[in-house]
């Protein structure tokens, strides 16, 4: 495959946030588009993997190995047919020609001999003799004196095509008994400026040759048809045999690890390929199950002690006033315990967010994808966060079309947009406006090669993110300096990014109001369907 070129960000200030973060899990690297050896390592602003190069149907066909094999097969077949036809032609039509030439040469030599023995009259007599016994009426002779007179022969004149003394061989039309026929002629010079022409009527041989040629051409035509048919069969057979492996690989890439290649039982190369793939998948499956088991265990082993600690603190909170000596002390104790509980809850929230991100990135949730309409979901969210915006003295405006269909994960999409809205409200100034909009995309190619079908945009009037920080904004726990003092875990955008990747899409961050101070942030969540 050709290396995908990096996508060009829509505006100079925009940046598609790269995949991955501080410690990308193994699954993170999996879908990264291959890069050419000559390209610089991923850095900065152009990190979204590019769309596959646009290509015409012919190029697409040439990319198919099946098609190339079939083409090779057809070419080999055609070449061998051509070679066969050439040999056949050489051995038949060519032999006829060679035979005619040999006869003419021998005849001319015999007459030349005669000339030498008996002079012009002897040669003329020999010619008349030959003509007298030529019952098939095939022979043509002309013995010419230096003055152009005919000494013997059966042509009305010396053919003008052979006037040139250097002309030795010729094919030409003659009139024979009022009918046009083809003749093969051989001229030699005799001593004293005489010239001798020996020829044969080859009309029958030419007719034979035509028949032969026609037969060969028909045969070659049919052979070519068979070659094309064979090529088509070959290609289809290859495709049919490779399809199970291809389908399985696609399903696996889509996160469905239960798929296996169906084997035909023939035990051939394709079956061996399928069996190897299956063995590999079984191993991956075991590893994944192991990982899932481990993360379940981690979830359990981390949550249980936190649950215990929280339970003890809550218990203590209920009992605190009893143990304290004074009301003052009791209040201080209560406050301390409450802070402890709040801290534990914060830890739990971060942990929960990390688990969610891991869940999205593992792609395991693709099984939960369902067709949905983004618009009512977004309208609900807008109504939900509109209250928060109002409480913060801001306005939340929406620009939603009638419908934006998508196949995806409702809960994760909701949470992603909620995180964007939460950020927008959190960082927007009082009196500012947060804009939520959505539109269906016409299916432009996304970073993972899938066609992007929906875009959700959240724009605020806050401080924005400096271009240098944008590429890192999706990293876990990354927080731009400007937001150090704002509460939050620094995981919000990581989750948005993970959700974008789960939907084979991208997150583009750019200035909402380029040039203005503050520039604001526009986050565009671009998603592919299913």
């Amino acid at each position: 495959m050709d290396p995908s070129l990096p996508a060009v960000a829509p505006s100079g200030a925009a940046a598609a946030v790269p995949r991955g973060g501080m410690a990308p899990p193994a699954g993170d690297r999996r879908e990264r588009a291959p890069r050419g050896p000559g390209l610089p390592p991923p850095s900065g602003e152009d990190l979204a993997a590019g769309p596959p190069p646009a290509e015409g149907p012919l190029l697409h066909l040439l990319r198919s190995a099946g098609f190339r094999f079939a083409l090779l097969f057809a070419a080999l077949f055609a070449v061998s047919i051509l070679a066969f036809a050439l040999v056949l032609w050489w051995g038949t039509a060519g032999a006829l020609d060679r035979q005619t030439n040999a006869v003419l040469r021998a005849d001319a030599l015999a007459l030349e001999e005669r000339w030498r023995e008996a002079g012009a009259s002897g040669a003329a007599e020999a010619i008349e003799e030959r003509l007298a016994v030529d019952a098939e009426a095939e022979s043509i002779y002309f013995l010419r004196a230096p003055d152009g007179r005919r000494l013997a022969g059966n042509l009305d004149r010396w053919p003008p095509e052979m006037e040139d003394a250097s002309a030795v061989w010729a094919d030409l039309s003659v009139t024979h008994d009022g009918q046009r026929s083809e003749a093969r002629l051989h001229a030699i010079r005799l001593p004293g400026g005489h010239r001798l022409l020996v020829g044969r009527d080859v009309s029958d041989k030419i007719r034979l040759r035509q028949l032969l040629a026609e037969g060969l051409i028909w045969a070659a035509g049919f052979a070519l048809l068979f070659a094309l048919f064979g090529a088509w069969l070959l290609r289809r057979a290859l495709e049919t045999r490779l399809r199970p492996a291809f389908r399985t690989a696609a399903a696996i890439a889509g996160g469905d690890l239960r798929q296996r290649v169906r084997l035909t039982g023939l035990g051939d190369e394709f079956d061996r390929l399928g069996a190897t793939m299956n063995a590999m998948l079984d191993r991956i499956d075991r590893l994944m199950a192991g990982v899932k088991g481990v993360s379940d265990a981690i979830a359990h082993d981390l949550r249980t002690p936190i649950a215990r600690a929280r339970a003890k603190l809550e218990d203590a909170l209920r009992a605190a006033p009893d143990g304290a000596a004074t009301a003052e002390e009791a209040r201080a104790l209560r406050a301390a315990i409450e802070e402890g509980i709040a801290d534990l809850d914060a830890v739990t929230r971060v942990f929960q967010a990390l688990l969610r991100i891991a869940e999205a990135e593992a792609g395991a949730r693709r099984a939960a994808f369902a067709p949905l309409d983004l618009v009512p979901l977004l309208a609900d969210l807008a109504e939900f966060y509109g209250a928060a915006a109002e409480a913060a003295g801001q306005r939340l405006e929406t620009d939603l079309p009638a419908s934006v269909p998508l196949t995806g994960d409702r809960d994760l999409l909701l949470q992603a947009v909620a995180n964007l809205l939460d950020n927008a409200v959190k960082f927007g100034p009082p009196g500012g406006t947060v804009r939520l909009s959505a539109r269906a995309l016409p299916g432009e190619p996304g970073p993972a090669g899938a066609a992007l079908v929906a875009e959700v945009t959240v724009a605020d009037e806050g401080p924005g993110i400096a271009p240098a920080d944008r590429a890192r904004a999706g990293e876990r726990f990354f927080r731009a300096d400007a937001s150090r003092n704002t509460p939050g875990s620094g995981l919000g955008l990581s989750l948005v990014l993970a959700v974008a990747h789960l939907h084979r899409g991208e997150l583009v961050l750019e200035d909402a109001r380029p040039g203005a101070r503050p520039p604001g942030l526009r986050a565009r969540l671009r998603l592919a369907s299913g």
């Binding site: 020999a126 016994v133 042509l155 004149r157 003659v174 030419i206 051409i217």
Partner: protein, 89 residues
């Protein structure tokens, strides 16, 4: 397929059709009544040594030439001469 055949036929080597000039082609003169006469005279020279069926052939050839069937007449006369002289030098 027919077009292909035509193209290949044109490309086939040594097809003499292209050799025909614009002027009237050379004529073969051994199909004329005069040549009939020449052949008959030639046969007459060997007539005595000729076997009977050669004589019959020659007679038929002369008769055919006389009726205008020059081509077959010439062919018969030539076969007669060939029979009359079984070993031409």
């Amino acid at each position: 397929m027919r077009v292909l055949a035509a193209v290949l036929l044109c490309l086939a080597p040594a097809l003499p059709a292209a050799a025909a000039g614009e002027e009237a082609p050379v004529r073969v003169t051994s199909g004329t009544p005069e040549y009939c006469g020449a052949l008959a005279a030639r046969f007459a020279a060997v007539r005595r040594a000729a076997p009977p069926d050669a004589r019959a052939l020659a007679a038929e050839g002369t008769r055919l030439c006389g009726r205008g069937h020059v081509r077959t007449g010439v062919a018969k006369l030539r076969r007669a001469i060939r029979l009359a002289a079984p070993e031409p030098e």
